[in-house]
């Protein structure tokens, strides 16, 4: 069992957890992920590491309640509770170097795993331009964290309720078109956002790293469910990634594969909601 050291609500349906897992906290790096399972009937959920603290043994994660399991976690698992299984660190760490000037683009809950990369890049001596985007102001989190780690920070909201109105890809494009020398781009968020960012940077030949969250079971190279097409070759996101060269990724295929269990996810959510309603009636 792995204890929940702290739980913080960052916005509607967005929670930050710190889970006690000292051996992972000792060695986990930016870009890597863990797999957790809430209880005996739970699924294995891969989540990218947001922070590790070797002192307290805490591993920080941010979840967005999009499916049954994340919703159950957010609603039912509180500070002081324990979750059944927690394994990692899995996947390859981000390649951190002093590249020069880098742009780190994050969208939605993808902003959370981008944060440790931003910090590591800054610590390595890069000039870091952050672009983070949310659907609207009430879903914002980690603004201060990014502001204190980035040399420049641009905040976008789709509805214009905070920062500039538009998508994260808009300022990315402007920066590149301005002729400013950008040495590398990270883009983490929904698949469609990563695809658009990669399409923007391609003509400028700026290396662009994306972090793929494909469907997986074990997270250790055994199921092959997470396979993605990168440069025409099938790669496993869990062991070959999760970070890949965004210019080589077949995002359309990734999105098709991400949607394969859509009906089952709805069914699972309905069953959970019905069970909750039943509990309330009692």
């Amino acid at each position: 069992m792995y204890k929940i050291l702290t739980k913080r609500t960052l916005g509607p349906g967005i929670r930050e957890y710190v889970i006690e897992a000292p051996d992972i906290a000792r060695v986990g790096k930016a870009g890597q992920f863990i797999v957790l399972r809430l209880h005996e009937k739970g699924e294995r959920i891969p989540l990218t590491i947001v922070n590790v603290d070797p002192e307290t043994g805490g591993v920080t994660l941010v979840i967005q309640e999009v499916g049954k399991s994340t919703r159950e976690m957010g609603e039912q698992f509180h500070e002081g509770d324990s979750i059944l299984d927690f394994a990692g660190p899995l996947g390859e760490a981000t390649e951190i170097e002093n590249y020069g000037t880098v742009v780190c683009v994050g969208g939605g809950v993808g902003i959370a795993p981008l944060y440790p990369i931003v910090r590591a890049l800054k610590a390595a001596g890069n000039t870091v331009i952050g672009i983070i985007g949310y659907r609207s102001r009430d879903l914002m989190f980690y603004e201060e964290e990014f502001a204190s780690s980035c040399d420049e920070l641009i905040i976008m909201t789709n509805d214009g309720s905070y920062g500039k109105q538009g998508f994260v890809s808009d300022p990315l494009k402007q920066i590149l078109e301005s002729g400013r020398k950008i040495d590398r781009v990270w883009s983490i968020g929904p698949a469609i956002m990563m695809k658009v960012c990669a399409d923007i940077t391609r003509p400028f030949a700026v290396p662009t790293i994306v972090s793929l969250n494909s469907v997986m079971i074990d997270g250790t190279g055994m199921c092959g469910g997470c396979r993605v097409n990168v440069g025409g070759v099938a790669k496993f996101a869990c062991v070959d990634g999760p970070e890949f060269d965004g210019h080589q990724v077949d995002f359309d295929l990734l999105m098709l594969r991400q949607g394969y269990y859509h009906d089952e996810e709805s069914c699972s959510m309905d069953a959970y909601m019905a069970k909750q309603a039943e509990g309330v009636e009692k």
């Binding site: 051996d23 399972r37 990692g88 079971i217 074990d218 190279g221 394969y260 089952e264 069914c267």
Partner: protein, 460 residues
């Protein structure tokens, strides 16, 4: 007067069992076991013992069964085999102990596997017999991977008085016995029963441990452990490398079986992990994993389940009993056939383009090489395909252990007699060394490694 035929074992009827995940063969009653035991000739030269990868004293345990001394029978088995309930169910006995039985040929061989299973199940229902444990030696060993090889090493080393810790990557111990072999062939509570018995002997099992990341093999040797055994298996699924293989509906057998067995997707949505199965399912491959996948597909609701295999029936690598059960259940065998393309519609699999094969000259394996027949392409419509053409070595330990010698397939190089690797004090066995093989061969490797590790620790 010896009965020519084996005492039959009752089974769930095929028409019924394709709709559930309950075990197919139902086991012997004590009377049936005694009746079968009476067929044993007690040959002095004991060919069966030589045919057993872990060398169980088969005539001796069968003699006990014949005398209704079931407790003594299981004690004899457990002297050489830490997982009898598993082996009695999944060993390919026809190629091992039963294949060399003196009765075989003229009559049916003694049903040794069924008797082993009977003894193990009898023990579970009656009294637990523990292996004798030697006094504590003060030595500590680490076992990486809780599959058949690792569990065997753990049991053998604990018996010799060493302290044993198993590190398992997944959330339960058992390896392929838990994620791979289906419930209807090897009920998971039986696997857990065998593992509990090891824990009761004092073996410590730590799950969710990613050795190679949180600690390396060298860290274990530099830290608390005097010796390390690597039994991390062949977990990396192979794909065919043909167009369309990333379409939705194309699974590796590992994924298909792991979702179903380990994550219990057949009980979705009670369990959170889903699985999708079309009306027509094609499994590519001819081994036990292919049989397991095709039979699992029926139980998950497929109307038709096909095996596509590139050689002929004679070359099917699966156990005879598995092929027999599959046929009984209505699995359709499309032999001398190979997929060349997966055809999709909106990202989902719709059909498999295949080509007919014929057998040519023998290849390196001594089997006749399948050769495509030009112009014989045809399509099989299917919404689901399961690729069961084998697995490569699990990469985590090989990649994270710099001094470990590997062969050209990435498997660990280990002495076949001792399991010793290129690193002193580090042993390996099972599929991580041999490539995908059988449960009992992995257990045999574990047993030999334990003998060598024990000798190494005595000198240390």
């Amino acid at each position: 007067m010896i009965h020519a035929k084996q005492t039959p074992m009752r089974e769930q009827p095929a028409a019924e069992r394709v709709h559930n995940f309950n075990e197919v063969p139902l086991g012997y009653s004590p009377d049936e076991a005694v009746q079968e035991a009476e067929r044993c000739l007690q040959c002095p030269h004991e060919p069966c013992v030589k045919g057993c990868p872990v060398g169980i004293d088969i005539p001796k345990f069968i003699e006990h069964v014949k005398n209704r001394e079931f407790g003594q029978a299981i004690s004899v088995i457990k002297t050489d085999n830490s997982l009898p309930a598993v082996c009695g169910r999944v060993c390919p006995q026809e190629n091992q102990c039963q294949g060399v039985c003196t009765l075989a040929g003229r009559f049916e061989p003694v049903a040794i596997g069924r008797l082993e299973r009977f003894c193990a199940d009898w023990e579970a229902e009656n009294e637990t017999r523990y292996a004798n444990i030697e006094p504590d030696t003060g030595k500590r060993i680490a076992v990486i991977g809780a599959g058949p090889a690792g569990l065997t090493v753990a049991g053998e080393m604990r018996r010799r008085g060493h302290s044993v810790t198993i590190f398992e990557l997944l959330h339960v111990a058992g390896g392929v016995l838990m994620y791979g072999i289906p419930e209807f062939r090897l009920p998971k509570h039986i696997v857990q029963r065998e593992i509990s018995a090891l824990c009761e002997m004092g073996v410590e099992v730590k799950v969710n441990k990613v050795i190679g990341r949180t600690q390396t093999v060298q860290d274990l040797l530099d830290g608390d452990y005097d010796s390390v055994f690597i039994g991390t298996g062949a977990g990396l699924p192979r794909f065919l490398g043909v167009p369309g293989e990333s379409l939705n509906g194309v699974f590796s057998a590992n994924e298909f079986l792991t979702r179903t067995n380990l994550m219990k997707a057949y009980r979705f949505p009670e369990y959170d992990t889903p699985i999708k199965v079309g009306k027509r399912v094609v499994t590519v491959g001819g081994g036990n994993v292919a049989m397991d996948s095709s039979r699992t597909a029926l139980r998950l609701g497929a109307k038709e389940s096909f095996i596509v295999y590139r050689r002929s029936e004679d070359e099917l690598p699966a156990r005879g009993e598995e092929v027999h059960h599959a046929k009984e259940e209505g699995i359709q065998f499309q032999l001398l056939t190979n997929p060349i393309e997966f055809i999709g519609e909106n990202g989902n699999l719709r059909a498999i383009r295949c080509i007919k094969m014929e057998l040519g000259e023998p290849d390196d394996s001594g089997r006749r090489r399948p050769v495509p027949i030009e112009g014989s392409e045809f399509e099989i419509e299917a919404e689901t395909v399961v690729i069961a053409i084998g697995n490569g070595p699990h990469p985590l330990i090989p990649q994270s252990t710099p001094n470990l010698d590997l062969n050209r397939w990435g498997s660990i190089v280990a002495d076949p007699e001792t399991g010793l690797t290129s690193i002193p004090g580090v042993y390996a066995g099972g599929d991580i060394v041999t490539g995908a093989a059988t449960v009992i061969e992995a257990m045999g490797a574990g047993k030999r490694a334990a003998v060598a590790m024990h000798a190494f620790l005595a000198e240390k």
